[in-house]
């Protein structure tokens, strides 16, 4: 099987990340969708109502007055001079966006699998192999050992993803492009560790 040129991969990933943001009005995060599905199983469906505009303003004002009373109506002592109140038509619409349901997550993962399948078919055909395509890997691990190593690697990736609150799509693609400090650090950590580990393994197995 021939891999696609790296630059086409970059264009495709950018198109998907930007397209997701434009169509969904939210950042693409694959592990975030997995977390949402797991949370649904653990904690049940999200019962938050979709609030917007006047009903959200009214609910917020009532909750604020109930929590702070008259203090809420006084400007904070360190606050700058309040800006003139914009005309109602110019005010941004207040909205609480309801999280996507499991159907949307399932559709996303279905598209992910179909996209991967199309990609390999266009590149020369589907080939399933429990291997890392390295002579050293194949020499070192044989039979069920290969599956065990790949499973362990997958578990480590999942653990790291949960620990840092994101994966290569959320941190690496979307977070880094937005210069988010946590994403820059996470991406530097997992890419740096991957590079060092691959060199170390190559040296150890040489």
């Amino acid at each position: 099987m021939q891999f696609w040129p790296w630059y086409l991969g970059g264009v495709a990933l950018t198109t998907v990340a930007v397209g997701h943001w434009l169509l969904m009005n939210r950042m693409m995060a694959v592990s975030g969708r997995v977390t949402a599905l797991v949370n649904r199983v653990r904690f049940g469906p999200d019962k938050a109502p979709a609030l917007s505009g006047k009903e959200l303003e009214d609910a917020l004002l009532a909750a604020t007055l109930a929590a702070f009373g008259d203090e809420a109506l006084k400007a904070p002592p360190t606050a700058p001079e309040p800006a003139p109140e914009p005309a109602p038509s110019a005010r941004p619409q207040l909205t609480l966006t309801k999280p996507q349901g499991p159907g949307m997550h399932a559709l996303f993962f279905f598209g992910l699998a179909i996209g991967g399948l199309l990609s390999v078919l266009l590149a020369g055909g589907l080939e399933v192999s429990p291997s890392l395509r390295g002579a050293r890997f194949e020499a070192l691990f044989d039979g069920p050992g290969r599956y065990a190593v790949l499973l362990l690697g997958g578990l480590c990736v999942g653990f790291g993803t949960r620990m840092t609150g994101g994966c290569t799509s959320g941190h690496g693609l979307c977070g880094v492009s937005r210069f988010q400090p946590a994403s820059l650090l996470a991406t530097a950590a997992f890419f740096g560790t991957g590079i060092v580990t691959s060199f170390a393994v190559a040296l150890l197995l040489a």
């Binding site: 999200d46 909750a63 604020t64 606050a79 941004p92 207040l94």
Partner: protein, 64 residues
């Protein structure tokens, strides 16, 4: 020296809403920019629990 602000401010949907008016700014001064460790949203995020979009820092859920 002022307390450091909540590290979740940039990603918190409710914080964005608190910037909407002077009346709502009291949530920021009482929670986001001071004692954010008692914020219910922050506590749930730290525990890895889902944070409902309509949850206020004091634990109150906004309803219609």
């Amino acid at each position: 020296m002022a307390d450091p602000p909540c590290p979740h401010m940039k990603s918190c949907e409710m914080y964005e809403i608190f910037t909407f008016s002077e009346t709502l700014a009291v949530w920021k001064t009482r929670y986001c920019q001071s004692d954010y460790s008692r914020c219910e949203r922050y506590q749930r995020a730290l525990k890895g629990q889902p944070v409902p979009v309509n949850l206020l820092p004091n634990g109150h859920l906004l309803e219609k």
